[in-house]
Symmetry: D2
Subunit: 338 residues, 4 copies
Amino acid sequence: MIIIMGRDVTDEQIGTVVKRLETAGLKANISRGIERTVIGAIGDERQLNEEMFTPLPGVESAMHVTKQYKIVSRESHKQNTVIDIGGIPLGGNQIQIIAGPCSVETQSQMDLSAKYVHEAGCRMMRGGAFKPRTSPYAFQGHGEEGLQMFRQAAAGHNFPIVTELMDARQIDLFLKYDVDVIQIGTRNMQNFDLLKEVGRLNKPVILKRGMSATISEWLMAAEYIAAGGNHNIIFCERGIRTFETAYRNVLDVTAIAVMKKETHLPVIVDPSHAGGKAWMVPALSQAAIAAGADGLLVEMHPSPCDAWCDADQALTPDELKKLMVTLGAIAGAIGRTL
Amino acid sequence: MIIIMGRDVTDEQIGTVVKRLETAGLKANISRGIERTVIGAIGDERQLNEEMFTPLPGVESAMHVTKQYKIVSRESHKQNTVIDIGGIPLGGNQIQIIAGPCSVETQSQMDLSAKYVHEAGCRMMRGGAFKPRTSPYAFQGHGEEGLQMFRQAAAGHNFPIVTELMDARQIDLFLKYDVDVIQIGTRNMQNFDLLKEVGRLNKPVILKRGMSATISEWLMAAEYIAAGGNHNIIFCERGIRTFETAYRNVLDVTAIAVMKKETHLPVIVDPSHAGGKAWMVPALSQAAIAAGADGLLVEMHPSPCDAWCDADQALTPDELKKLMVTLGAIAGAIGRTL
Amino acid sequence: MIIIMGRDVTDEQIGTVVKRLETAGLKANISRGIERTVIGAIGDERQLNEEMFTPLPGVESAMHVTKQYKIVSRESHKQNTVIDIGGIPLGGNQIQIIAGPCSVETQSQMDLSAKYVHEAGCRMMRGGAFKPRTSPYAFQGHGEEGLQMFRQAAAGHNFPIVTELMDARQIDLFLKYDVDVIQIGTRNMQNFDLLKEVGRLNKPVILKRGMSATISEWLMAAEYIAAGGNHNIIFCERGIRTFETAYRNVLDVTAIAVMKKETHLPVIVDPSHAGGKAWMVPALSQAAIAAGADGLLVEMHPSPCDAWCDADQALTPDELKKLMVTLGAIAGAIGRTL
Amino acid sequence: MIIIMGRDVTDEQIGTVVKRLETAGLKANISRGIERTVIGAIGDERQLNEEMFTPLPGVESAMHVTKQYKIVSRESHKQNTVIDIGGIPLGGNQIQIIAGPCSVETQSQMDLSAKYVHEAGCRMMRGGAFKPRTSPYAFQGHGEEGLQMFRQAAAGHNFPIVTELMDARQIDLFLKYDVDVIQIGTRNMQNFDLLKEVGRLNKPVILKRGMSATISEWLMAAEYIAAGGNHNIIFCERGIRTFETAYRNVLDVTAIAVMKKETHLPVIVDPSHAGGKAWMVPALSQAAIAAGADGLLVEMHPSPCDAWCDADQALTPDELKKLMVTLGAIAGAIGRTL
């Protein structure tokens, strides 16, 4: 922690800061500059927070010099973590493309989807049974019945399944249908009670970035899960909210590079929600893989025009197949496999 | 719903759109311009969503012309709704200042706080027992014990109490301690399962705006509560996230004026979280009241420097008292009372 | 300047940083913490910039501890600066409302506008002769002829006039028509060559905040003007760009409070461009004055529906008159006059 | 243009809108829905702007249905425009990497840079003689002397040169030193007088996107240049400003795909300013090319640690060489060449 004192600081004010540091078990290094005096804390600064100092008289600002996240940090674990999902590795050299429809609609839609996902060469499948919708009057997902249909469709291809958990009270259902990867959606990235609950499970968790979450908040949200004992966390960048209105979100490719530097955990990308239009998905997918993402979460629907939600952003089976070929070539260009 | 067709649209493509409209029970008005053909839907467009049309060939874009929110909309209810909170009206001519500490710490801190809130002339009290913290290692609130202390401190002054609900599983506790106003925090604005639950209660709900929620998303979130039967909703603007880093959030005063136009429900402001610094609170409070807010949710602590959280933003008892005087004068200037 | 070294820093890396500091004439204070080593620069850090250190091996980050702006900073000049504009003080206890149309259209429109501005009780007038328009095909302003009409209309009421300068080559014209206050528009806030030119003039300058300029960039832009010798600078907050699309910009009232703390120069607000709709202007104007603004730059048109530009946001003469009454009452409530 | 009338619209209000349309030479299509009446304009709507209607009584909103940009739009020119820069094509199948230092410092630095740019296999060179700096006290560029040094260094390799123009009064110098490509910087994207001037030249222009410019504003800025007769415009995405503070800007890869759809002109990317750190440049460059960019504007310095500006973001000569190899492979993966 560094505490910057205002211009006309007094010795007494400095003394109060130093005392607070010492009470917390740290020592102070005082550096008197010409315009500012800077006090550095020596010791384990995770005990401190900035607000312990900023309201004190004479203090201009205070800031941490170490990261507040620990378990998820690359400082604590240098090598990439590879997460095993039903025998499929995520976070290693091989890139994983998780495809499937936005929402589970019918058994035949799911069976067809599974077939197409398989034909495109993907190894995992996505689909939503509980749907977070902006309007209370929109289709909210089939719930348990949806999980059942999804499980059945995936069985034929031995696909691990990925689906969104919206509330802690649904966890028993998720365990009953043995969901392989639990997805925490954008709107729940800081639903701390939910994070604590999945932190107690022994299941991989995809943690989507909040619509306007900073890198640091995202890592801290993951730390909530990790602190509970569950270290199988996969970050998923899905576009951030900005001033631009020509597209739904701005896919933040810089975040991929920065996250890979800050954490040892896998980072994947959802190009479908990022752009919001199917025609943008190939360009965004290619960018994500080229920037170093470990995988994608892509929407594909047997017949996008008839999809019950997000029809706009689903690829057709043929488009997915074609995209996989290009992604394979890009993976090769950067020394990875698909 | 208006559907704008691309430049080289064919009759067949127009036909497909019209058929979809008719299937949904609406009629089409076709307007062939020089560069674009526009199809207008005639009928109840709440049945439609944009994605029913945008993936169709030849469609450039589609947009609603009516609002998607109904119960909370001023179109459905012209007069201001005044919510009764233990005999205190919110949303009428009288402005309500709800003050108190960020978090419940000790019984004596709460007793002192209640005394100061009373002395300043406020009629309701705030305080957090369940705290959403960015870090899992930070103080998470006293939980039930906190509710108990809060209830006891408020009793002496007959203060209705306002406190945050973070998870549906805490509702029984909230009913046990008869919390007067349930606050849904910023990070839970789109926790739809939680919104549905408070929609079933018969308690006023303060719905804080999400950090980067649009006006429309905020109103739709309230519609989730209202759709469940609970119409006692109070909107609380608390600053939005922007590119600016010199302060924590940007208090969006424009939102106050816009919300008062769009909804009949009360709109209050949290100036403490908006700025993040106690010295900014008076200016922001004054701006909020001058712009038409129906009340404030202000942090005050008997001894800010010793507060367990958000120490930086709490007013001292004296500062609150002084602020109340200025706010009274501003209320008078715009024909209201405090 | 504080330089934070990475985790596994070596003595040699620390040595390189220290040497660079010493070469620049400063001294180093080295504080070895448990997880990070922090090097503080002692001396005049305005000689340094962060990039002198961040590319060096072992450096994690570097940051200034003093402000980069000097002349405009309140640290350099504690009292409020009151700028004299043709005998009218801006920045003192009296609040100034500068009103007038968006653009100069005709002589009679300007004459009428001047009459209404006078009747409302304002003491200065605004109007644009050179107009920055998003489209090259839109009305670009009358140029010199516009200045002439404006000058003539203002003469009858002895109004100082405020108008926008878009290019250094127009300065001679501005001097010819003796423009009293030169406005630098949002899009030119960082047109550094233009700032340098007005820095050489002896005329008050209104510097509008860039659409997404930080407080610090805004102050640095003013420092460009001040560094040239012209210290008569008036800051004008006009709304910032955010994710919200329900209104054109978000009026940043927090910026008013923060700027008044950071600089001794006057801060005014443009509520018309901020909201973009005339009906929002009263609420925003009231908020701005209540938050501590020294004045407003408001659009008023004799007949808004017929305005050649920004018709949407101009008040009618009656609306302006009514607003002035309310603003007078709010000014009184906070101990100022109008 | 579509004009949406409010709920309780009267025939008289509709009549006023229709009359305004007819006065402008267009016809009206009136579509009376259940909740809203929609009026469509039939004819050349470029004559209209939204503000001609929004202030009229009964009007809720108005919006264009056609794009306001014409010359730069792909609607007006289906094929990709390939711009010839001293014999080197930009915008075709071959991707161009324009490399060089942030600013021209010395002759030897430029000679060395040119050598390394050549060795890496690039065909064009960048370098700044006029520098837009946030602080008036920072190095502002060598001006004419810088152009001279740049010209001389480039001569040995027949490199076309790219450099920034900050003010119309510098144009004669740019012509004197025969600058091959004129760069308009981020802060000047809406410096309309400057755009008009380069619109009169017969030189390719790189138009950088403003820090928070929408796609539509960016295209309209280019239309200013094109309207003057100069159609040799190259768009350059350089990262946008968002809430995220972990990196300088967010590279908007979605913009690449969207711009390639909206305009026939080339789109390049500046990965150096986007991220602000050299270590991010490879990932961002790879993403940009994979997403479909026609080229890059990359900073490389013979000795980044000693660079006079933006030292943080310059690649070393070796890093550039290595990056070129990877980019070549990615280009191949998407069917292009480098």
